[in-house]
């Protein structure tokens, strides 16, 4: 395992966190996406999963984003009789997205990304020290 594989493993980590960020952005953007007509399902929150596998080319265990699972928890409903998607009793189904949870997830993704970036920076410094040896 050389420094290049360290860099590549950290890069896969950054990539996975970027993909996670995209899913979080989707969730937040669709936090108010109700259905068009009564009985329509609103947007369902999606949850990113991570998988690690041994990459023979890199020579280490890299991480990648796995299947995007649907969050099967209950939708929220709000009383909005004037909404086109309101049912007979005036309730509209809204997505099961909690912006607070998404914000916390976003922070976590950010920290994780920074940690991977830090590994890249440190590894590059070590690589630079190795090249300094050539200068004697």
């Amino acid at each position: 395992m050389d420094f290049n594989s360290s860099l590549r493993i950290a890069a896969t980590g950054m990539h996975a966190q970027t993909a996670r960020m995209r899913v979080i952005a989707e969730n937040i953007a669709n936090a108010d996406s109700a259905g068009k007509a009564p009985g329509d399902e609103p947007y369902r929150r999606r949850v990113p999963t991570f998988q690690s596998h041994f990459d023979a080319e890199v020579g280490g265990r890299v991480v990648e984003i796995g299947k995007l699972a649907n969050d099967m928890s209950d939708f929220t409903s709000r009383y909005e009789p004037g909404h086109p998607a309101a049912d007979e009793s005036g309730y509209v189904q809204y997505p099961n997205v909690n912006t607070l949870i998404e914000t916390v997830d976003m922070r976590e993704a950010q920290r994780s990304y920074e940690a991977n970036l830090n590994v890249v920076t440190v590894t590059r410094q070590m690589l630079g020290r190795t090249l300094d040896l050539l200068r004697g």
């Binding site: 395992m1 050389d2 420094f3 594989s5 360290s6 860099l7 493993i9 950290a10 896969t12 980590g13 996975a16 999963t49 991570f50 998988q51 690690s52 023979a56 020579g59 280490g60 265990r61 890299v62 991480v63 976590e108 920290r111 994780s112 940690a115 991977n116 830090n118 590994v119 440190v122 590894t123 410094q125 070590m126 020290r129 190795t130 300094d132 040896l133 004697g136």
Partner: protein
């Protein structure tokens, strides 16, 4: 006599290789910090006395004939990873805390820098011995 035949250089380059391998494992840990079921790995503490035997003993190595084979060479100074014995488990089920890993990454870099500095100084001593101005 090659540079690597001198004990100080072979010892230092072995230590540098250890740090290099450790950096890879730490990168794995950080990248997989949120992977469920992943167990963090680290290297056993570097010990010059133990590594000396590994470097000098006769070696038997296996051949990798298929891409799925691992090439294991015992006397080649191979450095084996081991699962970390963390008492703390995160909700994801792995024992990785980013702060600990960052500390390890930084420590690893500083130790590596110490080794490379020693290597450079040794080269400089050789140059002095050869009568060259440093």
């Amino acid at each position: 006599m090659g540079l690597m035949d001198m004990p100080v250089f072979s010892a230092l380059s072995d230590k540098m290789r250890w740090h290099q391998t450790r950096q890879g494992l730490l990168a794995e840990n950080v990248a997989n910090a949120e992977t469920p079921g992943y167990r963090g790995r680290d290297l056993a503490q570097y010990n010059f006395a133990d590594r000396l035997q590994a470097m000098s003993s006769a070696s038997v190595s296996t051949t990798a004939t298929q891409p799925m084979h691992f090439s294991i060479s015992s006397g080649d100074g191979a450095i084996g990873a081991q699962t970390m014995a963390n008492f703390e488990l995160t909700p994801e089920g792995n024992g990785i805390t980013l702060e600990d890993e960052m500390m390890k990454v930084t420590t690893n870099m500083m130790d590596y820098q110490a080794a490379t500095s020693l290597y450079q100084k040794s080269v400089r001593i050789l140059r002095v011995a050869m009568g060259k101005n440093v």
